[in-house]
Subunit: 182 residues, 2 copies
């Protein structure tokens, strides 16, 4: 049994969407009281730290409706049902950047918002990029633009909040430590 475990008495499914599901669990707390937990179920996602031959970092600019603005992020995407994360990672890299690779190393994985969501992001690294002969096509409701930036340019954009999400912030620290980005 996990420390401070909360026993589920009842699960109410509020919404089943294309991507997320919302449920409210009624739970018994460690002290015997009951409470409710608002929970988002998410299929999980991948993100890719990709360095070009020149040591530049590959970003995609994308409008995020949740934020009502465009930000620059490392390439990323959701797992399709039953898809292995490394397959998703290669697919998203090809679709969003026009690069492919035969080497993707899993760096780590982390939950993005453990307080309310089970989204787990698998983070990959590659510095072995090859341009695709034919561009892969994006999802029909997806519009992104690829940009290649030095670490210094990226850190400047982060200070201006044009780069502003957790996985990309992690990526910049990772590359600072690793020391091989331009």
């Amino acid at each position: 049994m996990s420390k401070f475990e909360e026993k589920t008495n009842h699960t109410e499914i509020i919404y089943k969407g294309k991507i997320i599901q919302l449920q409210v669990d009624t739970v018994t707390l460690p002290d015997g009281q009951t409470s409710k937990r608002e929970l988002i179920k998410h299929p999980g996602a991948v993100a890719i730290i990709a360095l070009t031959d020149e040591g530049k970092i590959v970003f995609v600019e994308q409008y995020r409706k949740a934020l009502e603005k465009s930000i620059l992020e490392i390439p990323a995407g959701k797992l399709e049902s039953g898809e292995k994360p490394e397959v998703t990672a290669l697919r998203e890299l090809e679709e969003e950047t026009g690069y492919t690779t035969d080497r993707l190393n899993l760096i780590t994985s982390f939950y993005t918002s453990p307080g309310f969501a089970d989204e787990l992001v698998h983070l990959y690294y590659t510095d072995q990029l090859k341009p695709l002969k034919e561009a892969a096509s994006l999802d029909e409701d997806e519009f992104v633009e690829m940009q290649e930036l030095t670490l210094e340019e990226a850190e400047q954009l982060a200070s201006m909040h044009r780069i502003h999400d957790a996985k990309t912030a992690y990526a910049l620290l990772y590359l600072s430590l690793k020391g091989n980005a331009k």
Copy 2:
């Protein structure tokens, strides 16, 4: 206008909870097609990288219903309505760890899941901790246990997925770079 902006045609509020709100926006895409976006509204949160006088890192162990397991995270919590993030940060530090401080430096802020949620985490740092004379009390549905670990111990727990969330993963990289944790 933001690049690739998506115009909102209609917002349907699906659920208004204690913490999160779910809405589905019908949008016009840059190519004129329409699509739907499933969006979570969240009040925002804070997290605190706190080092003891001995250079150990302060963690809290907590059961996360969304993950159905306990993990170790840096101290964190949600903004109350109208609350300034630095006020939340001090309150959560006192409630969850029994320490207080008169120095909290904002390091950065990041969106945790820009694909579907507007949760913004403000990340603070302190190495000026003082034990509280009287313990602050937690929320009535909150059960946490404080632990102080070296960076090496924390990295070991991360490799075992006992530490497994984005803000804490970021904190460990930050402390590796900064070099003043034990």
